[in-house]
Structures are given as structure tokens and as C-alpha cells.
Assembly symmetry: C2
Homo-oligomer: 202 residues x 2
Amino acid sequence: MPEQDTPQLIKETARKLFQEKGFSATKTRDIAQTAGINLALVNYYFRSKKQLYDVIMLETIEHFMAGMLQILNDTSTSIHEKLENFVSSYINLLRQNPEIPLFMLNEFSQHPQEISAKVPFFKEIKQSVFLQQFEAEVAKGNFKAINSLHFMLNVASLTIFPFIAKPIVQNVLQVPAPDFDELMQERKKYIPLWIKNMLWVK
Amino acid sequence: MPEQDTPQLIKETARKLFQEKGFSATKTRDIAQTAGINLALVNYYFRSKKQLYDVIMLETIEHFMAGMLQILNDTSTSIHEKLENFVSSYINLLRQNPEIPLFMLNEFSQHPQEISAKVPFFKEIKQSVFLQQFEAEVAKGNFKAINSLHFMLNVASLTIFPFIAKPIVQNVLQVPAPDFDELMQERKKYIPLWIKNMLWVK
DNA sequence: TTTCGTTTAAAACAAATGTTTAAAACAATT
DNA sequence: AATTGTTTTAAACATTTGTTTTAAACGAAA
């Protein structure tokens, strides 16, 4: 028998709705009705819609960042291994939560300074072992000397964007869901190779 | 003296607001107040907020697609030239309208079938000369034999994603606006090279 | 069983929000 | 100047929406 943890039920229902439709389009009555609970309970447990949203947004970002820094700061792996681990781990995450990137990017787009202040650990990427290793490879002449921001943007772009574009790929380009999923699986292998080919000095 | 074309004024004000905050978060009174016109005029000229939104969304997508098919179907250019033209032209467009991708992607994410039905010309990419040339290069053994969807996704990802991530790059990674702009300029040259390096058979 | 703190429910409230109405202002035509 | 069609305005309307209130239901402790 599933034990009824009301605040948890509210949070999970709200998370789904907020991620699907955004803050303004999600109504407190939607949340209550979808969760099958009384309207007043949303405010009873979370004081306001905005506070509920903030909790969910922070948890989402933490969830999204959780494994990232560990992979990028692992001193026992090479940059190539980190690249493979990062891409593979994130494609797995995004296959299960394809709505997260758009949800987060909308928040950063609409309240950049507020949300940036709340997630300081995002900055740690800049000082990560991963980026130090990248700079080292550049210094050794193994990688082409591009701004490390290009490097980061390329990895993030190739990994994340296809999931944001998923509705276009599936509905406009008519790619069936299983095919899309297989493509994303393939990218686990491809992206690290592509990145290396992009940067390799020949 | 700027002649007062009220419907145009409403449309441009609403476009800015819708693209910034989305449909639900934009209130008709926002539009009226920002445009400096009477509230009733929104409904007088566009019947409803939803119809105004639909007009703007369609115009935005048309604006976004306008030059694309011309470049991709130009029979007088090579695939390499098309790549350069596409990337360069789109980075220019996105530098001036960085909000368009997120605006469109949200719409596709929230109403995939409705919006897909309204923009049939999106499909034409699949039959473009650009993709035919890609397949030809693959057949000739000049390019690695990957699914053309990967190819399209890679070009789109590397070109578009950085603009979606702009608020993160600027506010979290603390990159000043002029630096960001310069990075995007650099990508006009880089992306075509990167794409070729990714695919080239060595 | 009574008591007491916690949780849930129904209803109400106040503010907001999209839309309509009806009259006034305007501009062109007769 | 009077008429006519169009545009703009102020006000009102009907819902929607976030939140609060008040009381009922519940469950554990005495």
C-alpha cells in the first residue's frame, strides 16, 4: 500500500506540471486536482505557489548538477574518460528527464540574476579538473588552442540540444520515438569522438 | 514623425513580451500599458489574446525559416559553402533575436501537433539540396557514414544552443556581453570547420 | 472516552484577468 | 455644417486564480 505523503505528492505533481507548462500556466487548482487533494493543502504545506515552485526549481537544478561535478573533478580519469563519462551519464539523465533542460533554461532566461545567485556551484565548472586538463592538452599542443568556453559550449550543445529539439524531431521530421531514442544512444559513443576530431591537431 | 499604426504597435509590443515571458505570464494589460494604448484595442484588433499570440508565433517561425530553405536549396553552392552560409546567416539572426529559439522550442514542446501542422515547410529540410549533397558525400566516401539526423542535429546544436544558454554563460560564468558576442562571431568560422573535422574520413 | 495537536475539507475572499459594452473622439465625405 | 464610418476610451462584466478562513475529520496520548 503506497503510504500517503501529502507534501511529497504535491511536490511531484507540481514538478511534472511546472516542467510541462511553466509557472504561470500551471494553476494551483491544476496541482490539487491532478494530485487528487484539496486545494488548500498546497498553501498549507508550501505557503504559496511561488515557494513551491522555488523548491522544485532548486531541487531540479541540484538533480541536474549532482553527478556533473563529481565526473568533472575525478582526479583518477583522463580528459577523454571524463568526456565519455559526462556524455554517457547526461544522455542517460536526459533520456529519463527530457523536460529538465528547457525548464531550467527558461528560468535562467527569465530570472537570470535571481537563479544565478541561488546556484553558486554552477561556477565550479570553471575551476574543474576537466577544464584544467583541457588547458593542459592545449598547452602541450595536443588540442587546438580555442577558448575553453567554445569547448564547454560544444560539449553541452551536442549533448543537450537534441533533447530540447525532441518535439521538432519527432513531430515535424516524423521520427518515431524508438528511433529517436536509438539516435541518442548512438550519440554516447559519437559525441566524444566528434569532440576529439574537432580539436585534434593533425 | 512616426505614424501611429496601432495594430502594428500592439503586435510588436506583444511579440517582445510573449518572447520574454511566454503566453500565460504576459497579461493583456501588460501589452496595453507597454504599448501605451487602451486595453480594449487589443481585443478590437486581434479579437483575443490567443489569436494575437498565434499571429506572432507564426510570423516568428516564418521569420526564422525564411532564409533557411533558400540557402539549403541553392543549387549553385557546394555543401561546404552552404554550411558556411547557413551558420553565418543564422548566427547573425540569433545575435539580433536571441529569444527566438527558446520561444519556438517552448511552443513545440507544449503544443507539438498543433504547431507542427501549421508549419509544413519545416519538413522541406529533409528533401533539401543540402541533405542530398550530404548523402552524396557519404556515398562517395568523403564523409563518414552517419545518420543524416545526427548531421542536422550537430549543425543546429552548435549554432543555436549557445544562444539559448546565453543567460547562463553571462550570469553564471560571468562572461561580459561583448565577450559573448565576440565568441559567437568566432563560431561563424569555427563551426563549419568543426563539422568537417567531425565527419571527414582520414 | 476525552483531549489535543495535526491534517483535510468546503467555502469564501480579494485581486487579477480576458473580454465586452456603450459612448465619446476623430476623420473623411457630402 | 452635417453625416457617416472608424478608432479610441472608460467602465463594467464574468471568470479565473491565489490565498485564507473556519470548521470538520483524524489519530495519538492521557
